[in-house]
């Protein structure tokens, strides 16, 4: 018999997964590279070279889209790292309500993003929303969270952090708990305080957790769509448009080839940013 079948576990085992992976992942990816070069109506296509890419780069809101996407990804991943780490430390320390707090922190992750978006856009209503009415009760006139062109993107980013920080915290909890106890003992012998424990042990040794959080949050931020769409639809005007929402609007307009070109661009950007980031972070990882 063929050597392939002689192994304990035949390669044939891979076939089902490979077929699924090929049909619903590899094939569409290859096809999308092709259709991005066409004018496409789903049934008919006409080859137009790089014209879609030219149009996409001329798209008036695109430069804003690039900038916003980057701001959004950086802000959300940075806040998730900082808050996730602090909450992770808090929730691995000896406090009474630890288990309860862990569930509370993780809970927003379980809620549907669309529901979160709708709920928050109601709470952020400038005159009737609960946030501004509570602020008004203590004498502060709150801003128009989603209407102010300078604030809208950050408001959405904050909601994203609120929703995603629980997940980051869980990764940090796992990371912090896997730090061997010897380090803490050594610190005690050397007479270090809580700050030393945090800065010299927990931060460097939970680096694998930090890396996972950064990578996940950053990629998630780059291709984020659902939250921004439910909260602002890229508005007011185009001020909170992300690359993904721009692409979506091209699909809505029926510009399938153009939208596919946008997806190819997004794919390239995500890989161009994520891969170097990944190698860079991994190089600086410390072995336990």
């Amino acid at each position: 018999m063929n050597p392939i079948f002689k192994r304990t576990y035949s390669y044939l085992f891979l076939v089902p997964a490979a077929i699924i992976y090929f049909v619903i992942f590899i094939l569409p990816t290859i096809l999308s590279f092709f259709f991005s070069l066409t004018r496409w109506t789903l049934t008919e296509w006409e080859f137009i070279g790089l014209e879609n890419f030219v149009t996409f780069f001329n798209e008036q809101s695109l430069s804003i889209g690039f900038k916003n996407t980057l701001i959004y990804a950086v802000v959300t991943s940075a806040l998730k790292v900082v808050l996730g780490l602090l909450l992770g430390v808090l929730l691995t320390s000896k406090i009474r309500t630890k288990d309860y707090l862990r569930s509370v922190i993780f809970f927003p992750t379980l809620v549907s993003t669309i529901a979160v978006g709708i709920a928050f856009s109601m709470m952020m209503h400038p005159s009737q929303g609960i946030i501004n009415t509570s602020l008004a009760a203590i004498g502060i006139s709150g801003p128009d969270w989603l209407g102010d062109t300078r604030l809208a993107l950050l408001s959405v980013a904050l909601v994203d952090v609120w929703k995603g920080v629980g997940f980051a915290t869980v990764i940090y909890i796992a990371g912090i708990l896997s730090i061997p106890g010897e380090y803490y003992e050594a610190l005690q012998i050397d007479g270090g305080n809580a700050w030393h424990k945090f800065w010299n042990i927990i931060v460097p040794l939970s680096r694998p957790a930090t890396n996972s959080v950064i990578i996940l949050a950053f990629i998630g931020g780059l291709r984020s769509f659902d939250l921004i769409w439910t909260m602002t639809k890229g508005g007011p005007g185009f001020t909170t448009d992300l690359i993904a929402s721009i692409i979506y609007k091209q699909y809505q307009g029926g510009f399938y080839g153009l939208a596919t070109a946008g997806n190819v661009i997004l794919f390239l950007i995500v890989s161009a940013l994520a891969f170097p980031l990944y190698t860079y972070l991994n190089r600086r990882e410390v072995d336990l």
């Binding site: 044939l12 109506t41 049934t43 149009t55 209407g147 890229g234 508005g235 185009f238 809505q252």
Partner: protein, 455 residues
């Protein structure tokens, strides 16, 4: 040996897994088109019967899922059933808006369309590749009932593909008559009169103009409803615009539409929280008299009737005024149309159904469940007397022939980003000139994607 026994087992498992996978694939494929599959099945059986007994045929109809559309469609179906008892029409619904556009396009593209479907006329219909997907209805006898002004909005290369399914709609300004009476104001005939009214309303502490930009589409009204004034000054604008000979930014009359919107923002006439205000909230403000004007399509009438029945008599309607008092007219929106899918297997029955829709009897049927928001486009059809006062406000414009269809019904081009651009102009992010230029770019993109000549 252990190993030997393992191999057949592995093969067996593989086979099971693979068959499972294939079966699953097969399942999805047939699931992908539940309506189409079921419909086709029924058609086949019905077709078999036709030869013997000539009875019981089922055709399918797709409409959008707003309450009004569903009511209208059901009224047609019921009345039609009484007239042609052997034909049953099965109703299917789809979402509205861009999502609905996508569904219609996808179903046409995958050969999964219903026999008859109701969809927009004008530029959206042009995007359906009519020659390939829709049945040519130019020479059907029932087209004689349809008023000629409607036909261009459902025509492609000189062939007519649809019939109107409801009444016309107008774009203009709703106003609260109580506020007008309290402040002693008169219905404005020019833009400057409107501005003067707004100043007085503002001084009285009310919101002169309701902005509901949370629902972005509502932000386009001031620009779109100004088209009567544009074409009054530049009669060839639609043609030139389609042929890329005229742009919004460089045609003063068209730019004026954007400037009007900017002026409303510059003078602080709109509510401060307009970016967070929804369409429904806007109607409420208007009905309760907190806002005096609301630029909107008259299709909002049924919603006001339903939600604020005691206030409906306080609401009036006027066309968006231009700068010249002699050229005051109304921009109208053509109703959606009924189309027949070209590959339908029940073309004869589908034609009978549309013939009913395009008859005076059909309009009577509809007006019973959905009050018209303007005249019907069927010859000899009348608007019933019990329509709200604001619909009656519209009738004089029609009687004196001072109406023009909105630009999207006379040109296949309508840029998809107009609503975002008008939000920007209406909230002061962009100036009118920048907005008009941005819209020209958006239009260029659409024309290129449609593959129009000369772009």
């Amino acid at each position: 040996m252990k190993k030997k026994g393992f191999k057949p087992l592995a093969m067996l498992l593989c086979t099971i897994l693979l068959t499972g996978l294939l079966a699953a694939c097969g399942g999805t494929a047939s699931k992908g088109s539940p309506e189409g599959g079921a419909g086709a099945g029924k058609d086949a059986t019905a077709g078999g019967k036709t030869e013997e007994t000539a009875e019981e045929v089922t055709i399918t109809l797709l409409v959008d899922n707003t309450q009004d559309s569903v009511n209208t469609a059901n009224a047609y179906i019921e009345a039609f059933k009484k007239k042609s008892p052997n034909i049953t029409v099965e109703l299917e619904t789809r979402p509205g808006g861009s999502e609905g556009d996508n569904i219609v396009k996808t179903r046409l593209a995958t050969g999964d369309m219903t026999d008859v479907f109701f969809y927009n006329s004008g530029s959206l219909m042009q995007a359906l590749t009519p020659e390939k997907n829709l049945l040519d209805l130019t020479n059907e006898p029932f087209q004689a009932n349809v008023i000629d002004s409607f036909k261009p909005t459902v025509s492609y290369n000189g062939k007519v593909y649809g019939v109107p399914t409801s009444s016309t709609t107008a774009g203009g300004w709703f106003y609260n008559k109580k506020v007008y009476a309290d402040l002693g104001l008169k219905v404005p005939k020019t833009w400057s009169e409107l501005i003067a009214n707004n100043e007085k309303i503002k001084a009285a502490g009310l919101t002169p103009v309701i902005g509901t930009f949370k629902d972005t589409w509502t932000s386009q009204l001031v620009v779109l409803a100004d088209y009567y004034n544009v074409q009054a000054q530049v009669p060839t604008f639609a043609e030139d615009f389609t042929a890329r000979k005229a742009t919004n930014a460089d045609t003063p009359a068209a730019l004026r539409s954007f400037e009007k919107l900017q002026e409303l923002n510059d003078k602080g006439f709109m509510n401060k929280d307009l970016l967070a205000t929804t369409y429904d909230a806007g109607l409420k403000m208007l009905a309760e008299g907190k806002g005096a004007h609301y630029p909107m399509l008259s299709f909002a009438t049924p919603a006001i009737v339903q939600n604020f029945p005691d206030q409906i008599d306080n609401i009036g309607f006027f066309a968006q005024p231009g700068d010249d008092v002699g050229k005051n007219g109304l921009t109208i929106w053509m109703p959606g149309a009924g189309y027949i899918y070209k590959e339908s297997k029940r073309i004869e029955e589908a034609k009978q159904f549309l013939a009913f829709v395009a008859s005076v009897e059909g309009t009577v049927t509809v007006s019973a469940v959905s009050k018209p928001t303007g005249p019907y486009l069927i010859k000899d059809a009348v608007v019933p007397d019990d329509v709200p006062a604001l619909v009656k406000d519209m009738l004089p414009y029609f009687e004196t022939d001072k109406t023009a269809p909105a630009l999207e019904f006379v040109s296949p081009i309508k840029g998809p980003s107009l609503e975002q651009i008008t939000v920007e102009v209406g909230s002061g992010i962009k100036s009118a000139k920048e907005g008009a230029a941005a819209y020209d770019k958006d239009v260029e993109k659409q024309a290129k994607q449609l593959g129009l000549e000369g772009w």
